[in-house]
Symmetry: D2
Subunit: 147 residues, 4 copies
């Protein structure tokens, strides 16, 4: 289906290839392995999906383990909520892109803002370099998708 | 925690009462029943949470039952994706509000746009009055929360 | 689609009516209002969906507001995780039922166990009567759906 | 926090290292990069998290693109629902493990059963080798975590 996704210039990823095949003839086989298909993921969107999934992973894991176990400022409501909210919008944003949504630029736009705030908050708190880096990387690629 | 939520003028709902109580003294008991607490839900935010949860409910149930079983234009990719995407952003938007997020205006803003598009799409398709109404109601209360 | 759902004896709810209509002729209109359709929800499954959604609502809201703001034993990792995990499995279990899944008995079975543990844990902690009640009610209806 | 997770023999992954550090002294820095931390992921649980996230990714992407665009038997309700349900339980199961839940064996047990059914269903349909493989791999590692 042409136009299934909001146009991402230069996007030549696996999913568009799917679509083209499917329009013309039934696919004979989708037995590309996961590893294979991922090797082909060069597009801005595939990169953004990966960054959102990584950010969801790190924020949820860090909040529910590091933050809960450290306590103190790490379970201060505003900080802890931001970590959990950031994890959730990253998951939703990834799911929009995975589903081929034409509206992923909307979720990516909000995801970029929330990841940026989470990065700033974690930076201020200190000792959370991995979260800061992962949120920044996600924010940057989401901004591109939202443009 | 004061300011746990973005200010909703006139919000006097159950959750802010929580917050106030908690600031002054440990709550002795949160044995308000669910029924009781819901009777008190008068605020714009509680209304918006309800509308988001209803919209998630109707869009997911309709897509996965009515649309899949009817087929034809009801499983046309753009329509079906919009139903599923609408259900997901409503869930996320409700979760942000339920979690006391200061950033719920961002998810509500996007939710309003997606619900509006879903309503228009369902209206064009026809035979989907419940979805149209529920999406419109959700869009309207999300717009208010986003303002 | 007959058998869309695992059989729930006595289920005469809105969704099965959908299905029957759809088999025979295109539905002319689904303009039952949400209020109307909910008035018809008498089945064990509709009750279970409602209980799961309520339990998700209360557990998430309580964890992210009451627990985070009270701190102390309320943010003790085992307790806090159980509240968040309970909210998530309730959401998933509701989504399985809303989607007409034939496998909802599996998610309901696990949901019943997790809600029961959450109820016990909240009871031991004290001051969380609403969570205890809501989790117990959800566990009970999930057990029925899982049977 | 000892016992944060159900014991996984031989688990020496990043998260337990977190926990140990946190018990003894405040962590000075969590600036392990994501790449670094992933290089250390050798445990059965980290493997299972990865398999669940991959399975969520493939099932959701395939259902919402390949299946919707191909139509026919690919949007047959029982098949399509199974793909969407499989994606959701994989996400939930991953989230339980990421959150350090002591109850992940319950969600993993159900996830294994649903992935196995999804693999069988996709195999019968044909032309879905990647889904079959990914679901099987996820089912296998979930069975181990559930044991």
């Amino acid at each position: 289906m042409k136009g299934r996704r909001a146009p991402a210039s230069g996007e030549e990823g696996r999913v568009d290839t799917f679509a083209a095949d499917e329009q013309n003839r039934p696919r004979k086989n989708m037995n590309t392995t996961l590893q294979h298909s991922r090797a082909h993921m060069g597009s801005a969107m595939e990169e953004c999906i990966k960054n959102c999934l990584d950010c969801h992973h790190i924020c949820l894991e860090t909040a529910m383990n590091h933050c809960l176990e450290t306590g103190g400022k790490h379970t201060e409501p505003a900080h802890f909520r931001l970590m959990i909210n950031c994890a959730e919008i990253c998951q939703t944003s990834a799911n929009f892109m995975l589903s081929g949504s034409e509206l992923h630029h909307l979720t990516c736009g909000v995801c970029a803002q929330i990841c940026e705030k989470c990065a700033e908050n974690c930076e201020r708190l200190g000792e959370m370099d991995e979260c800061v880096e992962t949120c920044r990387r996600c924010a940057e690629s989401c901004r591109k998708m939202a443009a």
